[in-house]
Symmetry: C2
Subunit: 340 residues, 2 copies
C-alpha cells in the first residue's frame, strides 16, 4: 500500500496524540477537545455520543479476557467517556463487529452477553450495528447518552484553586494485567507475588470489569453546595492518571500540584514496588478525575466512598508537579500508545 | 482462540444473515428490523443512528479505491442507511479508525478528506471517534440524523398493491468494480470491453463515489398527494436489488412481482451480457427501493429523475416473481456475504 510515497510519515512516526490532533482538524474547532461529543449543546438534556474501538492483541487477548469480559469492557469504556462528559442517562450502543470467519459463534455470543450485562447495569439498549469478516477480532462501539439538567463536564473548565479529585484507586487494573500475564517481578523488590489474594482478585476484576462512573456524575449533581455554579472540569483515566491530569491542566492553562501522600492507591497496593508507577501511568482504571470548587469537592468526597482529593490546580502551563517541593513529576510521559 | 470448543459453529458456518438474526436477540424485539435505529420514535424529528464498517480486503482495496474514495464510501454507506430510514437531516459522524502502524499518514488524511467532502455535500460534521493500531485498515462509522416531520420509512410497511420503485439504476457499481479489477469477460458474449467509454467512467464513479439518496427522501415528502397518508416501505440496495426486495417482501408478508422489461438498468448497460445478473445482485448501488401507494409513486417518478416503477407487491410470502408469468426469479440468493 502506497509504497511509492517517500519520506512520508507513518502513523507510528506521528504517534497517537499527534494523529488525533491532525484528525481533529477535520472537525469543527474544539470538537475533539472532550471525552465525547455534545450535540444540541444549548438544549437541556443534550445528546452525547462517543465511539471507542477494542482490538484483539492491543486492547484484549484470550490470555487475559473471556469473551464476556471483552463485551463488558467495550461497553464500559464507552460509557466511561459518557460519564466523563457528564451524562445522566445512557440511551444505548451500536456495535460494529469484525471477526475472522473461523471465529466461534460462542465467542461472539459471549461478547454480546457481556455488552448486554453492562447495559442492564447502566441503562440503554443495543440499538444496532454492523458485522464483517476481517483478520482480527474487534468491536467498535458507539454509545449515546443524555446530560442531566445541570450541564456538561468539560476538560477545559478547570481554574486555579480548584481541588483535584479522583473517584477511585489507580493502578489496580494494571496490577490485574500483571497477574493475568504472569509478569515477572523485579528480583530486588517485593511485588505482586507477595500481595494479598483478595487484592489480586480485586485487581483482576478491575482489569476485566471496569465500572463506568456514571454514579459519580449523579453524586456530583446531588451534592453541589447551594450557590456553587455548575462548573466542573473532568476526564476519565482510561489512558492513565497522568494522562488525565495532563488533559485537564493543558486544557485549563494550569499546573497540577499533586500531594504525594494522597496518591490514589488501593490501600493494599502501597507495599508494592511498582505501586506509584502503576498508579500514575498504569491506565485503564476508568475513574473520573475532576477539578472543581474545593467546597464542592469536600461534599463529593463525603457523598461518594473511595473519592479522594489528590491535589489542586495552580496557575501554570500544563505541568504536573509535586505539591511539597514544586518539582515536576519525573516521568510524565505516560499513557498508552496504540500504534507500535 | 477457543480451540477447545468442539462442534461449535463458526461465523462462516452461520453466514451473515443468521449471525445478524442471532445478534438481534440481544436487542429489543424489532430493533434490528430496519436499515438504521430510531430513537425517541414517538417524537417529531426523531433521532436516527446507524453504524457501518468498511474493511480493507473486503469492502475496499488499493487496487480499486484511493483513500479519498474509501472515506467518501464510508460516509456514503452510512448516510444511505439514514436515507433508507427517512432521514431529512444529517447531524454528523463518528469514526473509529484502525490501521497498521506502517500506514502512511497521507492515506489516513485522504480518507478523512473523503469523509469531509461527503459531509459538505450532505450536511453534518465529524463529531468524534477513536483510533487504534491493527492488522488491516478499517473505518467503523456511526452516522446520526433526524427524521422530518412526516415519519420514518420502515421495511415492514409494504402492502399488497403498492408500487415498487427504484430511485436509480442498478448494476452500475458492479460494472465499475469489474472495470477496476480488469475482470475477464466470458469469451462467448460481448461484455464491458465493448461498452461505451462514458458508461465505464460512470460505472467507476458509481463504485467509488456512491450517492446516498437523501434527496429522494426530500422528494418523497414534497410530492405526496393530498390525502395520501405517510406510509412508505423502503430500504437501500447496498446489498443488491434482490436483497433489498427480499427485505421488503419478507417484512411485509408480500411477494414482489417484477416487470422484466422495467428492470432498472442504466440504459447503456442493456447490451452487456451480465447486465441482468449485475442489476439484480451486483450490490453497492445505494439506491432506495420503495413500496408505496401507486399514485404517490407516479408523483415521485415525475419529481425525481431516474426513478422508475419496477413492479408491485402482491399477497404472498416473500417470494420474488416475474410479473409476466409468475415464475420465481431463478437466482434469488444474491447479496454479499462478508464472512468467507
Amino acid at each position: 500500500m502506497a509504497e511509492g510515497v517517500s519520506n512520508a510519515p507513518t502513523l507510528a512516526d506521528l504517534g497517537e496524540w499527534e494523529l488525533i490532533r491532525r484528525l481533529g482538524a477535520f472537525a469543527p474547532p474544539g470538537q475533539f477537545a472532550d471525552d465525547a461529543a455534545l450535540l444540541d449543546g444549548s438544549s437541556e438534556r443534550a445528546l452525547v455520543v462517543n465511539t471507542d474501538v477494542l482490538v484483539e492483541g492491543i486492547h484484549f487477548s484470550d490470555t487475559t479476557m473471556a469473551a464476556e469480559d471483552v463485551g463488558w469492557r467495550a461497553a464500559a469504556a464507552n460509557l466511561s467517556d459518557l460519564a466523563a462528559m457528564g451524562c445522566r442517562e445512557v440511551l444505548g450502543l451500536t456495535v460494529a463487529l469484525v471477526a475472522p470467519a473461523a471465529t466461534p459463534w460462542a465467542w461472539v455470543e459471549g461478547a454480546y452477553q457481556g455488552l448486554s450485562t453492562a447495559l442492564r447495569c447502566y441503562g440503554g439498549t443495543l440499538l444496532g450495528g454492523d458485522c464483517s469478516g476481517g483478520g482480527q477480532r474487534l468491536l467498535a462501539v458507539t454509545a449515546l447518552g443524555r446530560l442531566g439538567a445541570d450541564g456538561p463536564i468539560r476538560r477545559l473548565d478547570g481554574r486555579p484553586g480548584d481541588a483535584l479529585v479522583s473517584t477511585g484507586p489507580h493502578g489496580l487494573s494494571r496490577l490485574g494485567l500483571a497477574v493475568l500475564l504472569q509478569e515477572v517481578p523485579s528480583p530486588a523488590a517485593p511485588d505482586w507475588h507477595q500481595a494479598a489474594p483478595a487484592l489480586l482478585e480485586r485487581s483482576v476484576q478491575a482489569h476485566r470489569r471496569p465500572r463506568p462512573r456514571l454514579d459519580a456524575v449523579a453524586a456530583l449533581a446531588s451534592c453541589r453546595p447551594g450557590g456553587c455554579p455548575w462548573r466542573v472540569a473532568g476526564t476519565d483515566s482510561s489512558d492513565g492518571l497522568v494522562a488525565a491530569l495532563k488533559v485537564l491542566t493543558q486544557g485549563s492553562d494550569c499546573d497540577a500540584l499533586l500531594e504525594r501522600r494522597d496518591l490514589p492507591f488501593d490501600p493494599e497496593m502501597v507495599a508494592l514496588a511498582r505501586a506509584e508507577s502503576w498508579c500514575l501511568n498504569g491506565g485503564e482504571d476508568f475513574e473520573l478525575v475532576l477539578a472543581l470548587n474545593p467546597a464542592w469537592a469536600r461534599q463529593l468526597i463525603k457523598a461518594l466512598p473511595g473519592t479522594r482529593r489528590i491535589g489542586s490546580l495552580a496557575p501554570g502551563s500544563g505541568i504536573l508537579r509535586w505539591a511539597d517541593d514544586g518539582s515536576p513529576l519525573a516521568d510524565a510521559s505516560g499513557g498508552f500508545t496504540h500504534f507500535h
